[in-house]
């Protein structure tokens, strides 16, 4: 026998808000792919499309924020509903920033126009993009399925992204004998940094999912296990 829902209207609106947020992160995932392709291939039109795409995300971000506030004022949810509301507000900001990072990458495509590039760095940036997009996908699926084990995969998936980003300075030094290539490579360091941030945002997304499931606020350590805030000496 199913339990009657005396708060059905609220739950319907909450589900709808969640679907709209998932649509944003879906869009953001596509933007990551296009932003990386634009910066690696120097495709200016593609970069322009990414920037325009972000305007739509920004509009939806404000609208979701407004609708979230209305839901809170009307229903004053408690318990798991309250946790869900807290998570949705957090994710709205996270996904909006994910879009902003894609814009940063797309703008670098524009700045770098006409500069000589390095195949090696392009390959590494492409690799970072290929690592980050499955992270977003996994985080979405963990959230939709409320799968804690899947959410815990994210920190391990983030490690190679961090590693490539940390080594990118050395790659830039390798092309330092050509001033123009160096200028291009310096900008690509910012692309690597943006992709590293998107990876962190995907991990953050998974941590929010864990909070939703467990009710405990904590971050993951590298093995995807919960880490007490007190353990964080950084």
């Amino acid at each position: 026998m199913s339990t009657p829902d005396h708060n059905e209207k609220f739950h319907e609106e909450l589900d709808l808000l969640e679907q709209r947020l998932l649509a944003i992160v879906d869009t953001a995932e596509g933007m990551v792919e296009r932003a990386v392709r634009s910066v690696v291939t120097g495709d200016i039109d593609l970069a322009k499309g990414v920037i325009e795409n972000d305007n739509a995300i920004d509009r939806e971000y404000f609208q979701i924020h407004q609708d979230w506030t209305t839901l809170m004022a009307r229903y004053q949810p408690l318990g798991p509903d309250l946790r869900r509301m807290a998570v949705l507000l957090h994710l709205n900001i996270t996904f909006e920033r994910m879009g902003d990072q894609c814009v940063n990458i797309a703008k670098i495509t524009q700045f770098n126009e006409g500069l000589p590039s390095s195949d090696r760095i392009c390959e590494l940036i492409q690799e970072m993009g290929d690592l980050v997009r499955p992270m977003i996908r996994t985080a979405i699926e963990a959230f939709v399925r409320k799968d804690l084990d899947e959410a815990r995969l994210l920190p391990a998936m983030d490690q190679p992204v961090d590693r490539i980003n940390a080594n990118m300075y050395r790659e830039a030094v390798e092309v330092a004998d050509n001033k123009n290539t160096l200028e291009w490579a310096t900008k690509m360091l910012m692309v690597a940094r943006a992709l590293e941030r998107i990876g962190d945002q995907a991990v953050d997304f998974a941590e929010q999912t864990a909070y939703l499931i467990t009710g405990e606020r904590s971050s993951f350590d590298e093995a995807g296990l919960v880490k007490s805030p007190n353990d964080d000496t950084g």
């Binding site: 339990t3 009657p4 708060n7 609220f10 408690l78 318990g79 798991p80 509903d81 946790r83 009710g215």
Partner: protein
């Protein structure tokens, strides 16, 4: 089914609460258990053959506000009324188990229920001032509870009680006017003043704001937060947001139906309020506070 509920920090009694003893207590001045101000032990309440609540074990910490919530018919008001023997006034009512007040069972044979109700006061859903002056509402209540001071001392007591209930500034110039001339919110604060004039250390409140508008409700809630410095407060409320706003701990009661169709209330969870309204331990609590409830 045993509902033995404990909260880690209930074992740490706050200081500052006067130790009380009921009439007939041979160990006057002691606080035998050293735990809660009121503790129910496997308490059940019956009305005739009907069991209203079953096996309630709760431990209320001094100088805190504890809220009792749950669906209609779960017995939360019955539990509240059993904490100062108010149920004794219902001829068919019978209580089993123990209700310990500073370590002594208030249902013990030698205990005077009138004295219990003086030390464990009650404020009701609907403000019920006497049809007397504002002054007499306080003074009369104190007198019938044994106050024997001089006129000046009585005036001081009235002022102290009205100040304690955050009503003095509004009524100090019209103390001879009828208590019934006040607004609903003021009348309820007058009833709180009347309750605290008898110097209780526990105040029970049975949906004290349900007849009040939102502003008057907020004033009562503010007052409760002030009062808990000196009193322990236990409140029954239908308003979960109110429980979330004012209480330190919340007890959630539910009701179960027997094969014979008898509805009996039981305790599901007694947790810190912050936890209960964000991450409740029990699925039944979760269903209730999110509206998914049968």
């Amino acid at each position: 089914m045993t509902n033995e509920i404990s909260i880690d920090d209930t074992m740490t009694e706050k200081t500052g609460t006067s130790e009380r003893a009921l009439p007939g207590d041979s160990s006057e001045g002691s606080s035998p258990t050293g735990t809660g101000v009121i503790e129910t032990r496997a308490m059940s309440v019956f009305y005739g053959n009907f069991q209203a609540v079953a096996d309630i074990s709760l431990n209320f910490t001094p100088n805190e506000i504890s809220a009792l919530i749950g669906p209609s018919g779960c017995g939360k008001s019955t539990v509240l009324r059993s904490l100062n023997r108010m149920n004794d006034l219902i001829p068919t009512a019978r209580t089993e188990g123990e209700v310990m007040y500073h370590g002594e069972n208030i249902y013990a044979e030698h205990v005077d229920p009138v004295e219990v109700r003086r030390t464990i006061g009650m404020v009701f859903q609907k403000p019920n001032p006497f049809p007397k002056s504002i002054f007499d509402n306080i003074a009369w209540g104190a007198k019938i509870n044994g106050f024997k001071g001089s006129k000046t001392e009585m005036a001081d007591l009235v002022e102290e009680a009205l100040r304690g209930a955050a009503l003095w500034d509004e009524v100090k110039d019209k103390l001879t006017e009828s208590g019934l001339s006040l607004s609903g919110g003021q009348q309820q604060r007058l009833c709180i003043a009347r309750a605290i004039a008898t110097k209780p250390d526990v105040i029970l409140m049975d949906e004290p704001c349900s007849a009040l508008d939102p502003i008057a409700t907020l004033r009562i809630e503010e007052l409760m937060l002030d009062l808990k410095e000196n009193y322990s407060i236990i409140i029954v409320t239908h308003n979960m947001q109110q429980a979330a706003r004012v209480s330190d701990k919340t007890a959630f009661f539910n009701v179960k139906m027997s094969d014979e169709g008898m509805r009996t209330g039981y305790l599901v969870e007694f947790s810190k309020t912050d936890q209960l309204f964000t991450s409740p331990r029990e699925k039944d609590t979760e269903d209730y506070i999110t509206g998914r409830f049968g």
